[in-house]
Symmetry: C2
Amino acid sequence: MARWEPNAVGRLQDAALDLFRDRGYDETTVAEIADRAGVTPRTFFRYFIDKREVLFAGADHMAESLATNIANAPGTSTAIGAVVEALASAAAASAESAELFRRRQRLIQKHAELRERDLIKHAALARSMAKALRRRGVSHPDATLAAEAGVAAFKVAFDLWATDAKRRSLEHHVRDTAHGLSRVVRGDGGGLKAPKRS
Amino acid sequence: MARWEPNAVGRLQDAALDLFRDRGYDETTVAEIADRAGVTPRTFFRYFIDKREVLFAGADHMAESLATNIANAPGTSTAIGAVVEALASAAAASAESAELFRRRQRLIQKHAELRERDLIKHAALARSMAKALRRRGVSHPDATLAAEAGVAAFKVAFDLWATDAKRRSLEHHVRDTAHGLSRVVRGDGGGLKAPKRS
């Protein structure tokens, strides 16, 4: 019964996004996604543990490619520099999937259970980068801090990018937000204003 | 039937931690937690939506107190300075619950579903602080970056504290890790070492 199913993951992801848009996320079943993609539900579950996971195809691959990027970073890189370059490279590599990512992001924002899964995936990216940094001799808390700070900036960059009327690239936003993080952590930008009356 | 149940939340939390330790997290039911705390399961569900949530009692209160701290920060504070002070104050205020937090943290590390809930609670802390910063005139991406960077440092500080053989205070670790974050984001600490052979 096993058939060759070319690009089943891509087709399942497209089918899921179409159905979530047309019919609503909560209303769509795994059986319907599989049916629209022309595969069996069993094939769906070969690739994804549940309905949420179909939206996060590629997250494991991204974690690996971030780690590879850090493994290959020049010895002149700082820890945070290597993290930002890895994230910017991943952003550049994903440019052709931009429209799919934007659709996905709008959906994630609307559903608490998708936001939860998104947090878990981002935490996995940070762990992967922290581990890669430690293999390059960065000590424990510094490696984790650089990776977590980078992922924090990446999340902000992703949100800015998904809603950017000027449609600048994700790579642009990643680099711009990394500069913003550096500025903020240095404490540039002056003091707080008086609180607004509520 | 409604009885006055003094400190039901605290008793439920203690009962849960005892049962999770003695019997295992997966094996313990809400009914057993309620029974040990001397309340009905209905009372449990008045305070917590599920078994996981009993471990995160206080997270909402912490989000509020961080926001209050930022609302009252002096006008000379920078955004990141106000965030670090808010987190250090919360850490200092929780000193008497240190042993409970350590037990809780060990449990969270062991269970994926608790780590997920923990991520969600930390994301809520960041949102609360970002909102408070915006009310003090900090612009959108900067407010979110300062809050997310602060929470990233706080998570690292919490892990270091929970396993600190010297038993230094959480406040100490929060301040120390905040300095570490600043150093890492500035890129201090030099270049990466050659990758280890695997």
